[in-house]
């Protein structure tokens, strides 16, 4: 079991390194540093902006609402939030073929 785990971890590392080498050597990708900035930008945007906002809302809801209201609120906000994120490009930029 342990051997299988280590093999999996090793194989995954190999696949990831294949991707790193591919990215660094692809002639079309001229500035890998820009890609790294985008990669880390997403992490920062989630961990330092989106997540704190969501957890602040959770905290606020826990203090001000009853469990029943909280349940409905969580469901509504999760679905609406995900839908808004997915729709963000077309809300901000328009649907292709219409704009």
């Amino acid at each position: 079991m342990k051997a299988l785990r280590y093999t999996t971890i090793l194989a995954g590392t190999g696949v990831a390194l294949y991707g790193v080498v591919g990215l660094l050597t692809a002639p079309e990708v001229r500035r890998p540093a820009d890609v790294t900035a985008w990669l880390l930008g997403g992490v920062v945007l989630h961990d330092a902006v989106l997540a704190p906002v969501v957890f602040a809302l959770c905290w606020l809801a826990a203090r001000t609402t009853s469990p029943r209201v909280r349940r409905a609120l969580a469901a509504a906000l999760l679905v609406a939030g995900a839908t808004t994120l997915v729709a963000a490009p077309i809300l901000l930029h328009g649907r292709v073929a219409i704009r």
Partner: protein, 387 residues
């Protein structure tokens, strides 16, 4: 080192079972997106050892795989957010690094997290053809290589977390008593695990149904958030790149346009009238774009294989398709012999019963089965045999 004042999280939903269940759904979505992405990459940029093994059937194959690619990516957005919410408290675990192994594990999670967000954001923006990254990086190659990095980190993550995943999956037993108590506590707080997972599933379902209409045209009327509105377009077929965008002027498609077929035993030079006088074939084939949208259409024109026979081109020859377009990476494309000799591969002259419009590739365009839309070359000028 003293522990600084870190946030604490009171919800009982930040546990192994919730992380395992949502993580599994997310893993399936990512595996689907990765495999269908590989299919798309190979069809678009076939490596030489695979170039002559690409299947031309089923004709709707690429429509299915690319529709799945974009849909699984979109469905992964709420799943990823729910997964990140579940494990967010781990960001503040103390001490931050316990050992070399722990540091490596956290590094692999950073890579997985960064790659996953990058792939979903760039994929979604690309489907909407909104290139906010400008010339910082090319979408196709970057999305492709970061996918390998992300999937590698995902495999590492599964290996590292295997014991936790096993515990998360185990049926109600003594190990789950704690998880069960956590759930009871979570229900008392308002949101049970079941409610959280059901809601996450509902969010994933909602965004899928709201966007999948661009590939499954029968649900297009309810898919009001699909990046592409497939209900628009000349002759009921959307246009990704217009003639203006491709630098096509009416002058190059005027009456003196001729299709050249070169490199065979006989050189051919055919006007549009001469092409329409040849035996016409009608086929129903989808046009399926890399951005995920696809529609079925009725195409009419001359079989490419018959043109090749007229020009005395041997059966084993590949063909270079040259377009009159002046901008774009796909002005010249390679049509492998498997496509050239497929009986439903056409040099199309008509679409859905009408003469091709300029935006659809007038005077003549390529349409072959099971191939990405960018390779269905429009405004064809020459078919050249590759020696």
């Amino acid at each position: 080192m003293r522990k600084p004042p870190l946030p604490s999280f009171r919800s009982r939903l930040h546990d192994e079972r919730t992380a395992t269940l949502i993580g599994t759904a997310l893993g399936v979505a990512f595996a689907t997106a990765f495999l269908t992405g590989l299919v798309s990459h190979v069809l678009q940029h076939p490596p030489s050892w695979l170039a002559h093994h690409l299947p031309t059937r089923p004709s709707w194959g690429y429509r299915l795989t690319q529709g799945l690619h974009v849909s699984s990516g979109i469905a992964a957005i709420p799943l990823l957010l729910a997964k990140l919410w579940t494990v967010y408290p781990k960001l503040f675990e103390w001490p931050p690094l316990k050992s070399v192994a722990h540091a490596l594990e956290r590094l692999s999670i950073l890579v997985l997290f960064a790659g996953a967000v990058f792939e979903l954001v760039t994929g979604l923006l690309n489907a909407a053809q909104w290139y906010v990254w400008g010339d910082q990086f090319p979408f196709v190659q970057t999305h492709y290589w970061v996918a390998w990095i992300t999937v590698g980190a995902l495999v590492v993550h599964v290996g590292v977390k295997a014991p936790a995943i096993a515990r998360g999956f185990r049926g109600p037993g003594t190990e789950l008593v704690e998880a069960y108590q956590a759930d009871v506590e979570a229900r008392r707080q308002g949101v049970s695990r079941r409610a959280f997972i059901t809601t996450t599933a509902a969010a994933a379902g909602t965004v899928t149904v709201a966007t999948v209409g661009q590939s499954v045209t029968s649900v297009a009327p309810v898919s009001v958030l699909s990046p592409r509105d497939v209900g628009f377009g000349e002759l009921d077929v959307p246009v990704n790149r217009t003639a203006v965008q491709a630098g096509i002027t009416p002058a190059v498609t005027a009456a003196d346009w001729r299709l050249e077929v070169s490199g065979g035993a006989r050189e051919l030079s055919l006007s549009r009238e001469e092409l329409t006088a040849l035996p016409q074939t009608s086929v129903k084939l989808p046009i399926a774009c890399v951005e995920g949208w696809s529609v079925d259409a009725q195409w009419q024109g001359v079989r490419i294989s018959e043109l090749m026979d007229m020009a005395g081109v041997p059966h084993h020859a590949d063909v270079r398709v040259e377009s009159m377009e002046t901008y774009g990476a796909y002005a010249v494309t390679i049509l492998e012999r498997e496509y050239v000799r497929d009986p439903s591969a056409l040099l199309a002259l008509r679409l859905n019963g009408e003469v091709l419009t300029l935006d659809h590739g007038y005077p003549a365009r390529i349409i072959v089965p099971n191939r990405p839309g960018v390779l269905q070359t429009k405004w064809v000028r020459r078919l050249a045999v590759i020696a």
